[in-house]
């Protein structure tokens, strides 16, 4: 510890950080992150016969399905927002959250081979997943705007609100929630492989406790509790309120959801950091 200068580039010790986001290191790997995003994006659409059209086709299909089932058969309201816009915006935002969560929760399982052979910041993968989902969202957002203009041209009035300016915050919240829950679960799926099934099941349940296919206003009072604890619910309602001027704009719930987003993300980061160096030994 004395002779030569103690200037080391890499120091490896048994200690693991609990809360640390090594931004400097992530920046060093920015080319890799870009390539991983591309790899993800390309491999998603190479798997379907629709190619890149898949990103648009999927939410459109859901929208038509919801219009038929929930709009026509079940006769559920949409807060007087045109059905297509209501369902499309809900599906688009929900898919962004759910895909991010699901992909992130499979981080270790899907990359076991890679992680066992080479070191790079493990967060590269969740970052690639969430960015990829974000690009998908952007494409779908553009489609939503097309609908929007169509309805405007057909004389539908939207009372746009200033809240529209906070749209990036809604998206960020969904990203934090999806990534946070996802990487938190990813630490557990290395131990419990059956957790994966539970995740997809849980997500499909949660979707019905989120105003994706019906507005909060149409929920009977005794069920509202379910929505109150769901941090995704106010985000989707706020988004619709901002763009279509209808729906509930409950600032207390939104503030709660903001706090939960940040806390979930930090907790996720902690469990992820804690797990990333030991998981290789157990798979």
């Amino acid at each position: 510890m004395t002779s030569d200068k103690e200037t080391w580039d890499v120091v490896i010790t048994p200690k693991r950080m609990w809360l640390g986001l090594n931004l400097k290191e992530l920046r060093q790997y920015k080319d890799l992150i870009t390539l991983m995003i591309r790899r993800e994006f390309v491999s998603v659409y190479k798997q379907t016969i629709f190619g890149p059209l898949w990103f648009v086709f999927q939410p459109l299909m859901s929208t038509f399905l919801y219009m038929f089932v929930f709009g026509n058969i079940a006769q559920m309201g949409t807060d007087e927002i045109p059905q297509a816009l209501f369902y499309f915006s809900g599906t688009m935002l929900w898919t962004f959250f759910a895909t991010t969560l699901q992909k992130c929760s499979d981080t270790f399982i899907n990359n076991a081979g890679l992680f066992g052979k080479v070191y790079f910041p493990r967060l590269t993968m969740p970052i690639a997943y969430v960015t990829n989902a974000f690009f998908t969202l952007l494409i779908q957002f553009a489609v939503m705007l097309v609908f929007y203009v169509y309805y405007l041209a057909n004389g539908v009035q939207f009372s746009l609100s200033w809240w529209i300016l906070t749209t990036p915050i809604y998206i960020l919240q969904l990203a934090l929630l999806g990534t946070g829950f996802g990487i938190m679960i990813s630490a557990l799926t290395t131990k419990y492989h059956d957790l994966r099934n539970l995740v997809s099941f849980g997500l499909s349940l949660l979707m019905y406790a989120t105003p994706v296919v019906y507005p909060i206003s149409s929920i009977p009072v005794r069920w509202k509790v379910l929505f109150q604890f769901n941090p995704v619910a106010p985000v989707i309602e706020m988004f619709r309120y901002s763009f279509f001027g209808k729906g509930s704009c409950n600032l207390k719930m939104w503030a709660y959801s903001l706090i939960v987003s940040v806390v979930v993300f930090l907790l996720g980061l902690m469990t992820f950091n804690h797990n990333e160096q030991t998981f290789v030994d157990v798979v």
Binding site: V10, V42, V118, Q277, V280, D281
Partner: protein
Amino acid sequence: MSTAVKVEHLSKEYRLGVIGNGSLWKDIQSWTAKLQGKPDPWTKINEESRIGKRERFWALKDINFEVQQGERLGIIGRNGAGKSTLLKILSQITAPTEGVVKMRGHVASLLEVGTGFHPEFTGRENIYLNGAILGMSKADIDRNFDEIVAFSEIEPEFIDTPVKRYSSGMYVRLAFAVAAHLNSEILIADEVLAVGDVKFQEKCLGKMKEVSEKQGRTVLFVSHNIGAVRQLCQTGALLDHGKLLMLDNVDKVADEYAKLIGQ
């Protein structure tokens, strides 16, 4: 000359056997059984005796050594000696249980050829992807691109073909070509030369030696091929049962190893 790698009191403990049942559902059943004082429904008969006896073991125990900058160290030892574990710790793939490793310069580790290759991607795209995974920047790869393709001996017209259409020989050559052009100060390689044809192996060894000599790169090399280790490395380290038996001139260490496996 300065020290490139300094390993102090390095130990790694592994847990053996299955930890839990690998299933949340089964673990819950085990817990409830325990609470009710019943036997665990998921314990296998022969497992009961094994657990508790040898649950943990040391794959590496109190390893100390230094590697100077520009030195090429060959790490040899029998199967299960702990060579791969040592390289995995140095590569930051797994954390040590005890001890410290300090390194000067960037580390590139090659524990497998073609890590991260995507079959749907073309040769060109995979060069970039694999290079980035191994720590190269896009600019580095741009600069070396033509040389990488030339080294791989892949006809330029195939470079924009998805690698799933490559023969396995082409695939391995391309992967090696990327690895040979890594510009990190420290290169760690584990048994990677076990694949690929002999002529190409020779070429890779030659290239590794050449860059190390020219640019003062440090190399840590594991191989079962003692001839290759003698050819490439100056010093050798002999590992056995997780302990460092000997650290000396490569020929002496190789002779000692021959004695060890001769017994």
